[in-house]
Symmetry: D2
């Protein structure tokens, strides 16, 4: 039986008409490097997104889980290294929840590192001509929350799976009306980058050893 | 006889392997709004670029001249309002010229405003879902120089023509290896934006009256 | 009789409680390099600011005029090279004027270059440990307007005077509540930079020949 | 016996002649809100900095530990929320160590949250007119390492102490020669901000409940 990767993308939030995260996921092929791609649109909601992903993991038993979210203002594809046990929402989510300085899981670790080969994923995206960086903060909103929840679930319930998260910039059309200097990216470019990342995620066991650290 | 627009784009410079300016021009259709599009790649050279454009204007007698250049680091399409009579090159051009605080034309005005309907062009690009802004500086390198030279030539020799300049961001692949935060754009997106701008340039006489000023 | 420099700074605008421009001018000594410093607060108003400066130039007959304004969002002291014959206001000025794509002087040149030794001023500020750059756009608001008007008046009426303009960042306290990433500067640091600039302006005839151009 | 706060700052690294972190610490008063301030310059070295801080904690038994480091490129004072169990150095430290994707403590948690009232500290700095933000990444270099080590030591060995970390921007003079747009801050302003932060750290038990989260 073929292996599976669950790829999620959020629905629009914060007054935007589109969320490039799921739009990019929608463009992915149904199979990458021999692995079946299960696509799932999830709500930009702290509580429900985690439940839906858990139910889907129960049903689909994916070997890999990769969640995609929008980080408006970033210029490049960013592969996240770490998720923290913290929910702090500058704006209410799509169900009106607005947690403040709250743990995501009372019994969870303070943080989890992504278990996918994040550096190799960054490298493969760059090798295909799309700027990508490793990031050490997934924020404190629903993106960090779903990444944290997936890694928590993997730790507790699905130990053979691997998980990770990728942030994408604003789509080109979202840039209209935003301040000069706001970077944008075509959704098709994001999809190509995510495909590169998945190809690496499902074929590489040992992460790359390139230096991708910060100097502060 | 149909009207003509001359659209120029520079060749690569500064160690880059590609210049998205002419790559985008290359993708333009041969006719926009009934106007023939004459495409011309020009060297990133202060002196020769002006000569080649003048010779081409002599031969082709275009009704419009629109020059395209790269402004690495800008996030959006920027339509330039003004060119100044100044050459100051931080790096040598492709012929090794590196003018410093030098006038471009001893007998030219201190500056010329673009004679194309710049605000309407910005607006039409935005209306097609691509971020664009009006810019009040075309720099001091070969981009400003060709814009200045075209407007000088129009002023002195081709009074029935109209001229302008558009800056494009780095292409996506140019972003690889540049610092995190460097905005990029697909060349096809640039081409679509330039096509929108040309459509407006050749059909609109009176510029839009939207406010596009600065607050300093 | 000793020589004189007129140094102007705008009053607060755009909802800000303070304008660091005049606050910095206020901190200047009354004499710099043997030249008397005449300090003048001017309104952030297109029409009246020009009248007040002209009246003061009539009365004081300064050898030099240096105007200071705020460019919120810039990180460094920027010495302006050029002012353009254009008024375009994103927000109304303090008298409610909001010109759009209007010339400042019907009979003026399209632009004037600063007649002060701008590169040497930048260099001297940097040499005193404060970041400074040459800028090729003074915007399209009241800052550009007063710079343009001063250079127009010098051209037409006060040919022995020299004029220029310096933009300063937001003051530190203005940064509170603004988006993360907004650069700020202490007003005392701005005053020190302006003093360095004036010292150069009144003692240097031939500008420096350092390269300070752009690469686009 | 009066309570004590240990405040550390790093020495210069990465080719800089000065590190504003310890320069700012040096300017602090010897007592803040009745609490003695113990100042310590520590080397920008992964291994030795942790040892020196542990020895000093053994000797001084501080009630609070606040470490200060430089985050060149940030515009504001940033109070860090979380330190991660990861060392990844883009450049070698001052002893030539350059760890890559290595845990800081084999037996440590994946991350620790600061135990000081970080939001109240941010708020008090802002209330004193200096821009400050909460940050959710302390990087992966020596700054994150010392913050992690201090919180690890508090967790294991000094349970009655509280710890945290503050990043400061480049000092003004460090901005000279750096790219236009690089934010800077006076060292005296940093010192004032750190003093505000300490005043809060030593007097506030319950953190503020202001929303300081991200929207991605």
């Amino acid at each position: 039986m073929s292996r599976k990767i669950l790829v999620t993308g959020f629905d629009p939030f914060g007054g935007e008409l589109v969320n490039p995260a799921f739009e990019a996921v929608r463009l992915l092929p149904d199979e990458i490097a021999g692995v079946s791609v299960v696509k799932l649109e999830i709500p930009t909601v702290f509580t429900r997104s985690a439940k839906i992903v858990e139910e889907t993991m129960d049903r689909e038993r994916p070997d890999f889980v990769l969640c995609i979210g929008q980080a408006g203002g970033r210029s490049a594809i960013t592969v996240e290294k770490v998720a923290i046990n913290l929910a702090e929402a500058r704006i209410p989510d799509n169900d009106g929840e607005q947690p403040c300085d709250a743990p995501l899981r009372a019994d969870g670790d303070t943080a989890y590192f992504a278990s996918l080969p994040v550096k190799a994923m960054v490298k493969n995206i760059n090798d295909h001509g799309i700027p990508a960086f490793l990031s050490y903060t997934a924020g404190t909103y629903v993106c960090n929350a779903i990444m944290y929840n997936v890694l928590y679930l993997i730790d507790r319930k699905f130990p053979s799976a691997k998980g990770g998260f990728i942030h994408v910039p604003y789509a080109v059309e979202q840039g209209v009306g935003k301040p000069n200097g706001t970077p944008v990216m075509e959704i098709a470019t994001m999809a190509k980058a995510i495909e590169c990342a998945i190809e690496t995620a499902v074929t590489v066991d040992m992460d790359a050893s390139d230096i991708m650290g910060e100097t502060h």
